[in-house]
């Protein structure tokens, strides 16, 4: 009996401790609130969800925004482009990140719910096609070559099928999973709706793809530019020939649009009524457009040309 009481006491103490910890946390936030009173302090809550590709940009923006507007509670999720739109349609979020343009059925669903939205372009990402460092034969590939490599046609693909001078060894393919916006984009510009090679290794984790290509001489893979940029020393980039000669993805060629067709814009979709009715949402989107250029480069993406941001800022003013 005595030990039972002791136990109950221990349990209570733990509870009290947990609550104290939580209260302590509130205290520190309260102190922060008293700082910086030059800017007009807004209040409110902004919920963002969507593409995991766009997540790092949003995280950076929210981090910076929190320094000017600590009372606006912004949360960013990363359920993927499709999952984000699902929540956006259900009216759970104000902003929905996407690594591809909105699909027709998603747009229709939003219309049925009476949700008007504005598409905001944040940055570019250049899908990078890479091969193993020891691969000394591939320098550049045309769109037709990529289609020959990636579309399933019942045969086992060998490098020699693409160019007779190349070794007669099987090509090992590494691709992002079919749920990702990266795959959707590749599907649209290269696969054209046809099935991807069945033997291809699909993974939702791009680091797995990086490791796969690093470890296999006959491998080829594609993923976002940031993953190539971080692994430049251990991967070999393939120049892409979109009809006007081979182009290597770099910040300059992606920004200028020269690296085509594999450079893609990254978006966030904003609920129009939220811009109108919630001052903090308007303020956040404005901050987003003003800072997206530097912050997206910070996390490994490529900024849009300056005038694109100005144009979108003008559009934002008309929505207010």
């Amino acid at each position: 009996m005595k030990s039972f009481k002791k136990l109950a006491l221990t349990a209570m103490m733990t509870g009290v401790l947990a609550i104290t910890a939580a209260c302590g946390a509130q205290g520190t936030e309260g102190n922060k609130e008293q700082a910086g009173e030059e800017v007009k302090q807004l209040q409110g809550e902004i919920k963002i969800d969507g593409s995991s590709t766009v997540f790092p940009i949003m995280e950076a923006v929210v981090e910076e925004y929190g320094m000017t507007q600590p009372n606006v509670k912004v949360s960013v999720g990363s359920s993927g482009t499709g999952g984000g739109f699902e929540a956006f349609i259900a009216g759970e979020t104000e902003l929905s990140n996407a690594s591809r343009p909105i699909k027709d059925e998603e747009a229709t669903a939003l219309k049925e719910k009476g949700i008007d939205y504005t598409e905001v372009q944040l940055a570019y990402d250049g899908l990078s096609v890479v091969v193993n460092k020891d691969n000394d034969w591939v320098e550049s590939l045309t769109i037709e070559d990529l289609q020959k490599i990636w579309i399933e046609d019942g045969t086992t693909k060998k490098w020699s099928d693409i160019n007779p001078d190349w070794p007669a060894e099987e090509i090992k393919l590494y691709s992002p999973g079919t749920d990702s916006g990266t795959f959707d984009y590749f599907d649209e510009v290269i696969l054209d709706g046809k099935p991807i090679v069945e033997k291809a290794t699909l993974s939702e984790d791009d680091n797995t793809l990086v490791q796969g290509v690093q470890g296999d001489k006959n491998a080829i893979g594609y993923f976002g530019y940031a993953y190539y940029a971080e692994n430049k020393d251990t991967l070999k980039i393939v120049k892409i020939d979109g009809g006007e000669g081979p182009v290597e993805p770099t910040n300059e060629t992606i920004e200028s649009g020269e690296y085509a067709p594999l450079s893609r814009p990254l978006f966030t979709y904003v609920k129009n009524t939220a811009i109108k009715d919630q001052e903090e949402v308007y303020d956040f989107v404005k901050f987003l457009l003003e800072n997206a250029a530097t912050l997206s480069e910070d996390v490994g993406y490529v900024k849009l040309p300056e005038e694109e941001y100005t144009k979108q800022l003008d559009t934002l003013e008309t929505l207010k």
Partner: protein, 292 residues
């Protein structure tokens, strides 16, 4: 006449002894293999993450700059999550176990319930995520709050707690109950004063192990659509939170190697929490178990 045929015994002794030592070495090798895997895992995580693990890491919010990033929000979020999961799952779980063991009659319905509870314990966690999304986030409109996440996690660990509590209650010797009844105690008095105190070590061990599982689960929370980045901390049970496994999951997916090291540091924090909780379970068991 020899009762024991020494010759045949000696003949059969050798192969039996060698069989014995071979199996001993096989099982020793298997144990070592498991330990080796654990060792490799720990080495990898500690060599990668230790450099990032300092007070600043525990006190900072996530950041795009790895050197400024930390797990503060996730750590507080995990504590908040526990504040919901622990009472809800323990009350419901122990209550159910008391009913099933002490009150319910042995019949088809009771058996059906028991079988299904065991089945629930084996349901993949992502399914509970879908349940939570439909019921708590959407239907009851809790949103992605502490409450929704906590209730989902409670459901996830509930079967484990029920089964552990059932075992603990069943292990209480029947003579104790009979003695209590014999002294004129009612059923409820017997349960509260005799059965529960005797069963508490088993119940708490099971409960704490179940809570440890709730701390480490990621899949259901991903399905619920829990946010990954929060620049604020929760104040009520209706606020949003992010938790440690989500933060780790997010960092491992980043292209930059520094974030992978941060993930390893986050894993160390999570491991330390788990080890502390498991040690409490072991301590409780050792302290209260020697009652008879």
């Amino acid at each position: 006449m020899n009762l024991i045929n020494h010759e045949s015994v000696v003949k059969r002794m050798k192969p039996r002894l060698s069989k014995n030592s071979i199996s001993k070495w096989i099982f020793f090798a298997l144990t070592m293999f498991v330990l080796l895997i654990l060792g490799v895992l720990l080495y990898r995580i500690f060599s990668q993450g230790l450099g990032y693990l300092d007070l600043q890491f525990l006190q900072s919010l996530p950041s795009r700059k790895p050197e400024n990033a930390g797990v503060y929000a996730a750590l507080i979020g995990t504590i908040w999550l526990m504040a919901v999961v622990a009472p809800v799952s323990l009350l419901l779980g122990v209550g159910t176990a008391i009913y099933l063991e002490e009150y319910a009659k042995e019949n088809a319905i009771t058996n059906f319930i028991k079988v299904n509870i065991s089945n629930l314990a084996g349901v993949p966690s992502i399914v509970f995520g879908l349940l939570g999304l439909t019921v708590f986030v959407r239907a009851l409109a809790f949103g992605t709050s502490v409450l929704a996440a906590g209730l989902t996690m409670s459901l996830l660990v509930l079967p484990v707690i029920i089964v552990a509590s059932q075992e603990a209650i069943r292990a209480v010797p029947n003579q104790l109950r009979e003695a209590s009844f014999g002294l004129g105690a009612t059923k409820w008095q017997t349960i509260v004063r005799i059965v529960l105190p005797a069963a508490i070590p088993g119940i708490l061990t099971g409960g704490i192990l179940a809570l440890s599982r709730a701390i480490g689960e990621t899949a259901p929370l991903v399905v619920l659509g829990m946010p990954l980045f929060l620049a604020f901390l929760p104040k009520t049970f209706f606020d949003m939170i992010t938790v440690l496994p989500l933060q780790i999951y997010n960092w491992t997916g980043r292209p930059q190697a520094e974030f992978h090291a941060l993930a390893a540091a986050g894993i160390i924090v999570l491991l330390v929490m788990l080890i502390i909780m498991n040690s409490i379970a072991v301590l409780i068991r050792n302290k209260f178990q020697k009652r008879y």
